[in-house]
Subunit: 489 residues, 2 copies
């Protein structure tokens, strides 16, 4: 299979041609959420970024196995090896079994993903569902001599690993610097070196999520699940691993180390990272009061929001920036995105109603080629959108009569919209789906007023005709002594 | 907490008062689907039955932990101990990884449950996610002497178990009869007795879903997961276990045996079973050509269906029968259900628009009491519905002026509908949610025709007024030389 797709590989820090290991198959693994609270803005960006990648690979004809994990155990507070498990802490606060917490927030996350029109992954494996696989991986790393057991916990030995492999190759961190930095925090640790990380943690007596292991009862370290599950479902070497850039270190660096230690070689061929979202120029954090969940965003229910923003507005907003750029959220930027999206979708409707002219105004072959070029250039969605807005301009000038489009051009431009706007960018016209109760009642008011006027003028035929037409549309009028009411049949 | 709920306990074959072990908490476990194909009619009945139970328990003020499992490994063809795993077989046929099959059909199942307005369970554990727990349970049963290992598989020893416990107490099967029946099928089995069942099966070399165990690589027997997961999330003794009556034997009988063997006592206090669905008097089976998936039912896309039936029609249809009665699906019965549901929901709208009268016609206190009595009598939903249709009759006669309802009665009847129709029976008015594009276009056609007529009569003020009113409703009219078109703003 041939393609001209190039993607930025975080590992080599260059844009590389994308050549999968076993075409037409592509293995794609993306780090999913830790399901201990409502999905927020930060979850929308990787969801949309890797959905675009997935959609584009499918469009190019690849058979993609897209695995996105659900972290439901082992992710401790502060992303470090100490502190409470994030899910257990929430379970304690909400008086729930940890798996009730997981189910609740998993349901919300999946709902939000559907709202954002992100396609469901092929497999959504859960960390707690792969404890055996993780234990087997720890055993392998121990056998190879890159880990050590202390008091029922197992740690990865970074010094030992660094003698044979390059720890820090993804993130660019240098071992000596890490040594300097972590020495200060370290202290009464049972690790040989403070920057070593846990593969398996001994469970304290009050810890709920625990499993038997060769080292006693415990639970897996956070980084372990992704190495275990990606290789289980995609093979020991696979094509693409994606995630947010905040996961590059330590999470992804540790994944590389785990796989290399256990297998003797790295598993991932292309590492892809989406950049972060800021809010009004600030990092999003609960302590700053600018923490916005997707539910709040869609309903407008947050002090920082001037209005509700629909899932498609958020999606469009994110696509206006390249996935490797930072993006700043503000009401102004979102309102602009809302307008832009509306303009794009409206042009698609205008196009359908366009009367063909003999005059030609659009070089559709070149436009289409440039759309592909933009996507092939590391998924350059802002550039793609600017090409699509060229088409919008031409459609609108054809509509107002200042230029024209031939029947063929109208058809081909329609195909272009279907391919790029709807299939690849995954945008949808939300107004087509949403409930129209309000509009129905407004239209009914207009009709009822017109009918009343006809009756006042004793135009009984008109009044009866309206009643008959409404009946055909499934609406019954009831004349009562207080006036006319209507209801659906 | 006080309640008057009684439920039929399949174990004692009597209707018993429901007294949970640790009020206000209730532990509820229901057997979920084996996700290897689209959810069908047979899945709708337990989904609705136990959703009603869950909703009613919540309504009574209980804090319910509702666990419904997902079987994604170990369920072999013919529900027996031999043959291919149902999911692996489908994976082979569809050229997918088994967990891709699981994800695909799990997504469809959950979508269907949402369409049927069945509330999501508190926890949806998966068999493949609890292999360690299942291995630990097998170890316990082996330790207690009620199982034996042969060639890497472990079987439950029913003869040994029967010396201490009563195998067959739930289903009423008699060991001697089982012995007679299975001897004929048995043969070259490695089991001591042909009716013994597998706790752990050795994986053949081509078997994909496999895990290491003390007995070599293998996978759990089908019955094991429910014992392991129910006690993990609900405790060693818990309140209610539900499922379809087809699961009573061998599945639930084996669950009882596993728990009793491992723990020394049974785990489940109340066993509840919903009865089966037949189609035009026949059992549903792929071989009979009457196998209808929920997707087909909702779209009408099956040769046996005269039309599409909405999820709420199906739900209402099931509620018209007691859950312990069989139910026969036919187009006639479904069309009748569709009408009944419409009548019920219409009355709820009529009620809202009713003008209070001074005259009283309804004994709302008695009606409400009878509604509770019906639910308390083993969830007698058909009786409940007949009470609610009494209210419908009164509402309609108040609406046509032949009787009256006071303001208080209108309010209390509204509360009654909210409680029983919407909260407890979980019915919704689908017309409120569905897309109204069709209606909008029909209403717009009526308005445009009226406007055209006004213009033909040169009533410019009317024509301009209509344009202005539409604009307020968000609809723009475009006069073109070919006529008037409209679009949303």
């Amino acid at each position: 299979m041939q393609n001209n797709l190039s993607i930025y590989n975080s590992l080599t820090r260059t844009i590389e041609p994308f050549n999968p290991l076993h075409p037409p198959f592509v293995g794609l693994y993306v780090c999913g959420p830790t399901v201990y609270s409502d999905a927020h803005l930060g979850h929308a960006r990787p969801a949309v970024t890797f959905d675009i990648l997935y959609r584009y690979l499918l469009h190019l004809g690849y058979r993609v196995r897209y695995v996105r994990n659900i972290t439901d155990v082992g992710h401790l507070e502060n992303d470090a090896d100490e502190g409470e498990d994030k899910i257990e802490k929430k379970a304690r606060l909400e008086h729930l079994e940890p798996m009730e917490v997981v189910q609740k927030y998993l349901n919300t996350f999946l709902k939000n993903m559907e709202q954002l029109n992100a396609l469901p992954p092929s497999i959504e494996p859960r960390a707690s569902g792969h404890i055996i696989e993780q234990i087997e991986l720890v055993k392998k790393i121990l056998e190879k001599g890159f880990a050590y057991e202390v008091n029922g916990s197992v740690y990865f030995d970074i010094v030992k690993y660094s003698q044979k492999f390059h720890y820090g190759k993804l993130s660019g961190r240098v071992l000596e610097d890490l040594q300097e930095n972590t020495r200060i925090i370290g202290g009464k640790d049972e690790k040989r070196n403070p920057f070593d990380f846990a593969l398996w943690k001994k469970a304290t007596p009050e810890h709920i999520m625990r499993w038997p292991s060769p080292w006693g009862e415990g639970f897996p370290g956070w980084h372990l699940e992704c190495s275990a599950m990606s290789t289980k479902y995609l093979g020991e070497v696979f094509d693409i691993h994606g995630g947010g850039i905040d996961l590059q270190f330590p999470h992804h660096e540790c994944e590389i180390a785990q796989s290399a230690a256990a297998l003797g070689n790295e598993s991932v061929r292309y590492w892809m990272h989406n950049n972060m979202i800021t809010i009004n120029g600030q990092k999003m954090a609960r302590s700053l009061g600018n923490f916005i969940t997707l539910g709040q965003l869609f309903s407008g229910n947050h002090p920082l929001l001037h209005q509700a923003y629909s899932p498609m507005t958020i999606r469009f907003f994110l696509l206006q920036a390249h996935y490797r750029s930072t993006v700043d959220f503000s009401n102004e930027a979102l309102i602009a995105a809302e307008k832009g999206l509306k303009k794009l979708l409206k042009a698609s409707v205008t196009l359908k109603n366009l009367k063909p002219s003999k005059e030609s105004s659009i070089d559709i072959v070149s436009l289409k080629a440039r759309c592909y070029e933009a996507m092939n250039d590391d998924l350059n969605t802002p550039l793609l959108l600017s090409h699509l807005f060229e088409a919008v301009k031409l459609i609108n000038s054809a509509a107002d009569g200042s230029s024209g489009m031939t029947a063929d051009e109208i058809k081909e431009t329609g195909d272009l919209f279907n391919t790029f706007v709807f299939d690849i960018l995954g945008l949808t016209d939300e107004s087509e789906n949403k409930s129209d109760e309000k509009l129905t009642s407004e239209l009914m008011k207009i009709i009822m007023d017109l009918r009343l006027e006809a009756r006042n003028k004793k135009e009984w035929a008109v009044s009866d005709h309206i009643r008959a037409e409404l009946k055909k549309a499934g609406i019954m009028l009831n004349d009562t002594k207080d006036g006319v009411t209507w209801e659906r049949d």
